[in-house]
């Protein structure tokens, strides 16, 4: 199936450039890692939906940032999809200077002109439907933006005691939310149970850090807690009959990291840049395979990893 065929009625009419009819004249800045991300062309109801979803991360637009424009798209442009029992993943099409996205009630493109700028087309006017479209787009935008800045977004559970963070890597079903819950019950703070960011060198002389992202899984948003914590270890999650920690080679760690880096890892034009970042991360931070049981002391195991 060619690009867009899963979601769009007329994939050939996918916008060739960032233009269209804006939903309104409202704007919003989002202070998410890699940002601020500046959204223009929102209606009042869309702005309200975004503010409701992202709360204190939202503010008025002031200064520079990564710009995105929001445009109207007719509902008839999108296929009706029965989402029961269905795992959602965006369709992406990569080119040298752009990335196109198609998803549930959304079309979007990222363009490097050369600075990164985005466009989002949706028929969703307000409410959770719009905030879902908005978040799906923002997840992709953040992933690409962080790679530009020498970081990455990782499918991971991030847990911390405030001094050191641990990223537990794995795809859906690997146990990210489960281990997050276990650590939370044991007194840890959870950054996110689904997507966290890493920065290799947040400032000169500092090592890699785990950075909280407002993208969560079943555990939901955790308010408060640190935004960025030095990263002590990477852990590849494996469910098994016993609790066990096994060191991973740098090569195995890199394989786990690239598999856990959504969106950009499938982009043939930008994957090498991502690989370079993840290779540096795998060299700088010890990695382990963590086999865990539901009865085990996951947080105790993590805390036993010495700096």
């Amino acid at each position: 199936m060619s690009f867009g065929g899963q979601f769009l009625r007329y994939p050939d009419l996918f916008p060739g450039r960032r233009s269209g009819e804006p939903w309104g004249d409202r704007g919003l800045a989002l202070d998410v890692p890699g940002g601020p991300y500046l959204f223009r062309g929102l209606s009042a109801a869309q702005e309200e939906a975004a503010r409701h979803r992202f709360g204190g991360l939202c503010r008025e637009i002031a200064g520079e940032g990564v710009p995105s424009a929001v445009f109207r798209a007719p509902a008839s442009d999108f296929l009706e999809i029965d989402t029961r029992g269905w795992e959602y993943s965006l369709e992406m099409d990569h080119a040298l200077n752009s990335v196109r996205l198609a998803g549930l009630r959304l079309m979007a493109r990222l363009d490097w002109t050369p600075p990164l700028a985005g466009g989002l087309w949706t028929p969703e006017a307000a409410g959770e439907e719009f905030s879902s479209v908005f978040e799906n787009y923002l997840r992709v935008l953040t992933a690409y933006r962080l790679v530009e800045q020498g970081g990455a977004v990782l499918h991971s559970a991030g847990v911390t005691d405030g001094q050191a963070a641990f990223l537990l890597l794995g795809p859906s079903g690997a146990g990210k939310t489960t281990t997050s819950r276990l650590c939370l019950e044991a007194g840890a703070t959870v950054l996110s149970d689904d997507l966290n960011a890493v920065r290799i060198s947040p400032s000169p002389g500092e090592g890699p850090s785990a950075v909280k992202l407002p993208f969560t899984g079943d555990l939901g948003e955790r308010s408060g807690g640190p935004e960025s914590v030095p990263l002590r270890a990477l852990l590849k999650l494996v469910q098994g009959p016993e609790d066990r920690l096994r060191p991973l080679s740098a090569a195995a760690a890199l394989a786990a990291l690239i598999a856990a880096a959504p969106f950009v890892n499938r982009d043939p034009w930008r994957r090498e840049a991502l690989l370079g970042i993840l290779e540096a991360l795998a060299r700088a931070v010890p990695a382990y395979e963590l086999t865990f049981t539901l009865e085990g002391d996951v947080w105790g195991i993590l805390k036993s990893i010495s700096p």
Partner: protein, 128 residues
């Protein structure tokens, strides 16, 4: 280029075919400079397959597999671009990302690859 990068990419391609951008025109007209192809790893590559590997210049290259020869303590691949005049330096299996996904080469193309390989072997024997 670090071998661990290629190993990581191979592991990634095992979960879902990996799209790569091919540079150079050695496989023209079938594969043009800048074309994107999807790559899947295999347990064994057959003569006639288009294999994708990391070339000496660090770029990903897609060339036709002709056969195998000893090399690097095991087997190395003998490859050539369809429109290239000469074959490549032996390609170690560790450098191979996978083969181009899609239609399997027809039997005639596989046979042609094998004949080319046989010709190379005979030419080498003749020089000794």
């Amino acid at each position: 280029m670090s071998p661990s990068r290629d190993a990581a990419l191979r592991a990634l391609a095992r979960s879902e075919a990996l799209e790569v951008v091919i540079r150079g025109g050695c496989m023209a007209p079938g594969i043009q400079d800048g074309d994107r192809i999807r790559v899947v790893p295999a347990r064994f590559y057959w003569p006639g397959d288009v294999v994708v590997f990391r070339g000496a210049d660090g770029r990903l290259t897609a060339h036709r597999l002709l056969g195998y020869r000893p090399g690097g303590g095991g087997l190395a691949l003998v490859t050539r671009g369809d429109s290239c005049a000469v074959h490549d330096a032996p390609v170690l299996l560790a450098a191979v990302l996978g083969r181009a996904e899609g239609a399997r080469p027809p039997a005639a193309l596989r046979l042609a690859s094998l004949f080319r390989f046989a010709w190379l072997v005979l030419a080498r024997l003749g020089r000794r």
